[in-house]
Amino acid sequence: MNSQLIQLNDLGFSYDQGKTETIKGVSLDIPEKQVTAFIGPSGCGKSTLLRCLNRMNDLIDTAKITRGSIKILGQDIHASDVDAIELRKHVGMVFQKYNPFPKSIYENVAYGLRIQGIKNKDVLDEAVERSLKGSALWDEVKDRLKTSALGLSGGQQQRLCIARTIAVQPKVILMDEPCSALDPIATAKVEELITELREQYTIVIVTHSMQQASRVSDRTAFFYLGELIEYDKTNTIFQNPSQKHTEDYISGRFG
């Protein structure tokens, strides 16, 4: 258990001050430098759980952790001396709907560094180039870094969002259905990118596509109604699930 980067212990979460639990006691460990996929039908709490990992749910007034704990790098992220802003520098996030800022490509990637107060142009240039190369976008945009990010295609915009995330060099990248707004070709490129990124980053991906989970992930967790039903190696989940429920879901019999 030495390489477990994220440890969830009996985590409970509620959107309405604890009246109803959206996540009901989930315990799982996410290993370092692997891709972990969260699957399950809509409303099962997988996106909510993902947003717990970088405390994005703090932005919702009535949201509340009802029980349990999340440890990242051995540190409880809800401890009183943890700053959510510092946490998010280490746990980046890519959203379902690609959302680059309406600024230039360069400024989008440099955003995370600028807010950390980095002004040195050489440092920024280097980071922008490294991040765009890291997200396999450099060759496509290197001649138009100063043009608006909104001129890019959907798939390019999503990869730009990934570049923006890796620019701040997080440990973990959370991806919330990153391909659901993309066409199959753009999806393939993003999946290829995810496979490359796992060399350096720990990736947690929420997806509705069973094929995508089976293609890109090392481990898969199946959620249903806020509970973790099964969590195992992706191959095991897809070929030999131990739970009847999981088998029904991945074979498309319900969901």
Binding site: I85, P100, P102, I115
Partner: protein, 371 residues
């Protein structure tokens, strides 16, 4: 062969066209009213801006402040009308003429420079104050505060404030800014509500008010227009996609960094729209400035008789709506008419150009910041 799609001419079709015409006539009514107002004012007012001999522009109208207009006849029955200053010169220059039937008409001679400058200053200072406070409050309401009962009560109160009659704001301004606001002075007035030493200096901090002044008027107008500005700014902040905020937070930005870099820039076009609303409302208000900023006998311009760089703020000003109000009380006569219509036309043009400026700015920004 029978047409299966034969046009029907029943009650249903008639009802349809009745509705259409009711809606259409209602729209035409307001258009007709607007057309009447604008054409009447411009047709009668714009000629005041020009004159028949060189340089063709009525410079007096734009470079002089309102003066008393003297109207008289000479012994031959020839009629003259000049501002009082020119009348006095004329009397000296024409000692042989006899003056018959002299009338003096307040504020109908000279030009509108004073009111024009006064209104521009009032609107400008008011908008600076109102935008600063309004945008800050809107940021707090839309980004920082929660959605509790208290906050929705506060929001509702702000909305309600927008419906308060301007005379109420005028009285508020008179009481607070003219009579109660703090000043630092060497000689506190007896009427001050309270005064004390200003730290270790020889001056006093005295709650004696700013008197009838540009600053008091601007502040009153700012308070009056704040509800409109806050509501409109809050709307435009909320219209910025949530994704920008989330992305910024996810990159480790603080709340203020997120607002500063990913929310405010994209709300600026909406904020400018709000300020257009504000400007048009503020510029036209008469009641608040009548009580707090203008004086009838005021004749010097803001930069005349100054005692320091900021003293224009504490002086009273002339203002166009008030000038128009003064003129409107006269029965319409050929001597007053050019001044009446000219002032109103100039006023409309001033307000429209303020609004136009914001619209142009907004459109430019919109094109730059599309998403």
């Amino acid at each position: 062969m029978d047409n299966p799609f034969q046009k029907q001419l029943g009650w249903k079709q008639k009802k349809e066209s009745i509705y259409l015409w009711v809606f259409r006539l209602c729209t035409y009514t307001i258009i007709a009213a607007a057309l009447f107002i604008f054409s009447d004012i411009f047709i009668k007012g714009v000629p005041t801006f020009f004159k028949s001999e060189a340089p063709y522009v009525n410079t007096e109208f734009f470079t002089e402040s309102p003066q008393i207009l003297s109207v008289w006849h000479d012994q031959n029955g020839q009629e003259y009308s000049m501002s009082q200053k020119n009348y006095e010169q004329w009397v000296v220059a024409h000692p042989e003429k006899e003056i018959v039937d002299l009338h003096n008409l307040t504020a109908s001679g000279g030009g509108i420079l004073g009111p024009l400058v006064g209104t521009a200053l009032l609107v400008f200072i008011c908008m600076v104050i109102a935008l600063f406070i309004g945008v800050s409050a809107a940021i707090y309401l839309s980004e920082y505060c929660g959605k509790g009962k208290l906050m929705s009560t506060i929001r509702l109160s702000i909305l309600n404030l927008a419906g308060v009659p301007s005379i109420v704001f005028a009285l508020f301004g008179l009481g607070v800014f003219c009579w109660l606001a703090p000043v630092i002075t060497d000689v506190p007035k007896d009427s001050a509500a309270f005064f004390c030493r200003w730290f270790w200096t020889n001056s006093y901090l005295s709650f004696q008010g700013w008197g009838t002044s540009l600053l008091a008027g601007s502040c009153t107008l700012a308070i009056m227009v704040l509800p409109v500005i806050i509501t409109a700014c809050e709307e435009s902040l909320r219209a910025v996609p949530k994704g920008f905020r989330e992305a910024s937070f996810a990159l480790g930005a603080t709340q203020w960094q997120t607002i500063r870099k990913s929310v405010l820039p994209f709300a600026v076009p909406g904020i400018l729209t709000a300020s257009v609303l504000g400007i048009t409302r503020v510029a036209g208000e008469t009641a608040p400035i009548m009580l707090t900023a203008t004086m009838t006998e005021k004749s010097n311009l803001p930069w005349e008789q100054v005692e320091g760089p900021w003293s224009f703020l504490t002086q009273s000003v002339q203002a166009l709506p008030f000038h128009i109000y003064t003129l409107a009380k006269f029965p319409e006569s050929e001597h007053v008419k050019p001044m009446q219509y000219g002032s109103i036309a100039a006023f409309l043009i001033l307000v429209m150009s303020f609004a136009l400026l914001s619209v142009i700015l907004r459109n430019r920004l919109r094109n730059k910041l599309k998403w």
